[in-house]
């Protein structure tokens, strides 16, 4: 597994070295991260008030503590996240197939997938988002398998971090209950006690929600007094759903 992680990191670093320019939208992130370091929180998000803050914070922290340029800091965050995504996929596959070899194949495929390598080089939020969401799902799986509520805490933490990277991170809060309902239906004849099953599932989900809320609401409150207009639940989402349901027009 170490060799596969090394392969993943090599591809991603190689891509960073092969591409001397960044994406068009990366200028936005760089300017916000620079503004955060130079002027503080008050004006950092004025160029895009709705953007979730975690990636900007990560870039600024990486630059502050490593001394590299902001562009390099952005690439470091994406590359490290992209490499850890391979680890998350390995652990997920190990749970699914209960076979180390299958898990290694999954890790290898993730390490060498061209698109995952390309987004790991970009100064964009997607690599970090994919990594955090994958870990959130992974800890939810572990929490369910090992019946350990602390692991659900970790799942909530990563879900919060994913939502603070891209608003779509809240999808985990929908995926988990849907999956719990499917589990109930599939195992309806095998469950010895419905009450215990429902209690355990509900409590696990409550732990997830509680951690998510505890991690995100303070951040939203702190940012409310600044140029940021970020909300945990993106208000535009309802508009998109309505448009889609009314059969969107050009």
């Amino acid at each position: 597994m170490f060799l596969i992680l090394l392969l993943a990191l090599s591809f991603r670093v190689g891509r960073c070295l092969a591409v001397p320019y960044m994406d068009k939208d990366s200028v936005l992130y760089l300017s916000m991260a620079n503004s955060l370091l130079e002027n503080g929180l008050d004006t950092a998000f004025e160029r895009n008030p709705r953007i979730p803050p975690l990636y900007i914070f990560a870039m600024a922290a990486c630059k502050k503590y490593s001394g590299v340029s902001m562009e390099t800091a952005g690439r470091i965050v994406s590359t490290v996240a992209g490499t850890f995504l391979v680890l998350a996929i390995f652990l997920m596959a190990k749970l699914i197939f209960q076979n180390n070899n299958y898990a290694l194949i999954a890790a290898f495929l993730a390490a060498t997938h061209p698109f995952l390598i390309i987004i790991s080089e970009d100064i964009m939020r997607d690599s970090l988002f994919a990594c955090l969401t994958a870990f959130s799902l992974l800890f939810a799986l572990y929490g369910s398998e090992k019946k350990n509520y602390c692991l659900w805490l970790l799942s909530g933490l990563f879900c919060a971090a994913a939502t603070m990277t891209r608003s779509e991170g809240v999808a985990i809060l929908f995926i988990v209950p849907i999956w719990m309902i499917i589990e109930f239906i599939v195992n309806i004849k095998k469950i010895p006690s419905y009450k215990t099953f429902i209690f355990r599932s509900s409590f696990s989900f409550l732990v997830l929600i509680f951690t998510f809320t505890v991690c995100t609401i303070p951040v939203e409150s702190v940012l409310a007094d600044t140029s940021s207009k970020w909300k945990i639940f993106d208000g535009r989402a309802m508009g998109y759903v309505k448009s889609f349901l009314h059969i969107s027009k050009k």
């Binding site: 190689g14 160029r47 996929i89 495929l109 997938h113 995952l116 390309i118 050009k250």
Partner: protein, 312 residues
């Protein structure tokens, strides 16, 4: 921005995006995984993964029809599709070993792994678009800008990277052509202390409408400055943003750009050609032209004198 659900073209574009993002290797493996579905265990983690993949996939379809879509939104969907493709990898190795009898299953695994590495290396370490102009033009801007001064880049390209690499202030002016998104993004103008909406599309389409990037409630928009605008005021406007540190960059040839002024009867231009950059690519030719705005030497001298005496 909003695509029609019932138009075939929308679905064709979507399938192109998805195919490009998932990539052919993963799609082939997913097909073989579907054939080899018995390799999946009927367990809770598998059901969780399938739930997560289905939900994410459907969510992305909804998002595709509602916003400006980019394939990088599929990153998470691809990540959770990968474990689903593992049985496909094994099945493909078995098929190869079955039809090429001199290759054992182990060797087939190695061949597939090596193929994956070679394809990834070719695809990712050999970038398709060598946007060399981003660095060449910006390096020349830094070269021609007087030391100690921050350059100002005036351009109608919405791509801010050039100004970023030059360490320059980015100011956008309209091109007079219907560049995609330009009409939507230049909706407002400064009017004294206020910002008001530009009433007509015609006003937004004129060449030489100088704008600043909006912030806060106007983030994502470009706001036209409260100055006499348009082609007839272009020469005077370009001098407003500095002295010997102002540059114009256009994604057009020198002849084409200057012809716009000649056709309007403007012969004397307030800028001088520095260089034209021509890049031949496989299907297109990319042209950029860099100009330096002519400055009033008295204004510059006065600025320098004020700096010495500390008046500014």
């Amino acid at each position: 921005m909003f695509r029609n659900f019932f138009i075939l073209e929308s679905w064709q574009k979507m399938s192109n995006i998805y195919t490009g993002a998932f990539f052919y290797t993963l799609l082939v493996l997913l097909v073989f995984a579907a054939i080899n579905w018995r390799n999946f265990k009927n367990n809770s983690p598998t059901r969780m993964l399938l739930t997560a993949f289905s939900f994410t996939f459907l969510l992305q379809i909804v998002i595709y029809f509602c916003v400006r879509y980019e394939r990088r939104y599929l990153a998470f969907a691809i990540a959770i599709a990968i474990p689903l493709a593992v049985p496909g990898f094994i099945k493909l190795a078995e098929v190869i070993s079955k039809y090429l009898k001199f290759i054992t299953v182990k060797k087939a695994f190695l061949i597939l792994a090596l193929t994956a590495v070679i394809i990834s290396a070719f695809k990712t370490l050999n970038p398709e678009n060598g946007k060399v102009w981003l660095h060449e033009v910006s390096n020349d801007i830094k070269l021609f800008c007087p030391p100690g001064k921050k350059p100002v880049v005036l351009t109608y390209s919405p791509d801010e990277r050039l100004a970023y690499y030059a360490g320059a202030t980015y100011i956008r002016f309209t091109s007079g052509e219907l560049i995609k998104g330009e009409v939507e993004s230049i909706r407002y103008k400064y009017s004294g202390d206020k910002i008001i909406e530009i009433p007509t599309v015609k006003e937004r389409e004129q060449l030489g409408l100088f704008t600043y990037r909006g912030i806060d409630d106007y983030a994502g928009y470009f706001i036209a400055l409260d100055i006499p605008q348009g082609l007839e005021n272009f020469n005077s406007n370009v001098k407003r943003f500095g002295t010997d540190n102002v540059f114009i960059v256009v994604p057009k040839s020198d002849n084409d750009f200057k012809n716009t002024f000649i056709k309007a009867g403007i012969k004397d231009l307030a800028f001088t050609l520095i260089k034209e950059y021509v890049y031949k690519r496989s299907k297109t030719t990319v042209v950029y032209t860099l100009y330096k705005v002519n400055y009033d030497k008295n204004e510059l001298k006065s600025q320098n004198d004020d700096n010495v005496t500390g008046k500014r």
